[in-house]
Amino acid sequence: MKGANDVFVKSYISHNTFRDSVYLMRLSNTVRGFDGVEEAEVIIGTDHNKKFLRSGGLWTDEIENEAGANDLIIAIRAENEEKADKAIQDALDELNKSVERDNLQGDFIPRTFETALQNFSGANLALLSIPGRYVKREADKILDSGLHLMIFSDNVSLEDEVELKKKAMEKDLLVMGPDCGTAIINGTPLAFANEVKQGIIGVVAAAGTGLQEVSSLIDTLGEGISQGIGTGGRDIKNEVGGITMIQGLKALINDDNTEIIVVVSKPPDSTVTEKVLKIAKESKKPVVVNFLGGDLDQVSKAGCEPAATLKEAAYKAVNLARGKSTATGESDIKVDQAMLAEEKDKLKNGQKYLRALYSGGTLAYETMILLNGKVSPLYANLNFKNAETLEDVYKSKAHTIIDLGEDEFTQGRLHPMIDPSLRNSRIVEEAKDPETAIIMLDLVLGYNAHPDPAGSALEAIKEAREIAEKDGRKISFVTTVCGTDEDIQNRSEQVDKLKKEGVIVLPSNTDAAAFVAALLAD
């Protein structure tokens, strides 16, 4: 069928074929790279997805009449019919290859929770990553069957979250999430968690990359994690009342394998803060509290160890685990002056702005806090009291901090931790702006994340450098790598790769933000 602008839109329907959304988004990316292809989607034919295809101009009569929710649609817009046909054939070949590669091949794969439960007695946790609007139906069944639950899915209503968490609380079950990207239970990393040593420090966090950063730093410092409980970001709102945070905190207090507790989140709503601190105060175990940007005195008055940064939370927990004082000053921020001078030398007069391109929301938020009052004007796509909201999130202004994991960037796309291509093109874009001084990046390692984030970022960094150098400029690239040497990407190897190419790598996000603040100071 002839589509807009004299290009061909063609489709293929593979009946009774299902693949999960991450696999299909990856395949769509691959197909978009095929010769002559302008746009492509490989997607399941639900009503929702069909509306998406129609609005994106990837629409054919075949999709309208023949594709249903049990079918897989390959929709291609290409420069001519031949290239569209070739792309469809190549996409089908990829799909067939995936069947051969299937790691779960040979396993019994049920289609419903009920069948799974019948065949898997003793299951104690369900991990849900299905579209948000179906979560409540499945989660109810899971909780009624007595399983704990981790909900990776987002787009679950607040009302459903409250209902599920109340039900779970009555049954003494834990609901981690919705929108819980990471957890470590009994030493097992779930979803996007890092491979960390087992130990005596238990963490409860309403902050996904906050949990990843703190647990990874604890590992790097030589200690380990007993449990890492994620709550989902909305848990700390008055409406939810911190149900999971409180359950998690109490569970860690009662857990024989946990001796030190760390709480990490943005400052909770006031009633939740009071409840959490009251329980922490009654605990005989030391509790380190990092309410990012919150009131440290309030935490001290509750008899807890306040931590202003993620780095401080990790260091304090490690020192407590070793029976040492928490006032060692090890977590104080020290900026390497020689490195700072070298980076400052690179910058010309007109280069004055920071462009921070984050994939981890909590890491971006910590940087906003640490730069607060130090750089101005500051723009962001995150809610923060002293930052202006960007009118167009695709266009930076003055100092800009962007969380590329926010919904506006991930609708129908893979999260930047899995697929850094959107961030990579943004790195190149920022290099074209003669006012860009620093490009700051977080590289988040761990299960299910990109296999080589440093390698991927370096391709964009090299291109960005060429653009700047043609214009007689040099840009300072400042990064932090969140993860451990036990992660599949190996933190040390990732760090070495970046340093070899002259990229600044700081040991924590806290240090990276401090370095950037010093670099921008007059």
Partner: protein, 53 residues
Amino acid sequence: MENLFNSELKVINMGLEGFAETLKERGTQVLHVRWQPPAMGDDNLLNLLDKLK
């Protein structure tokens, strides 16, 4: 929470296969459910079915 912290983790994974694959590679007991939208993904039919419950 005793049955979670003090026993071996046994996970039913519904949705993204990658999560089940990494757990399996690590030696964690996991059963993957190849979940598909109920009511053939027809939201209207699903709403009707929910009302009948």
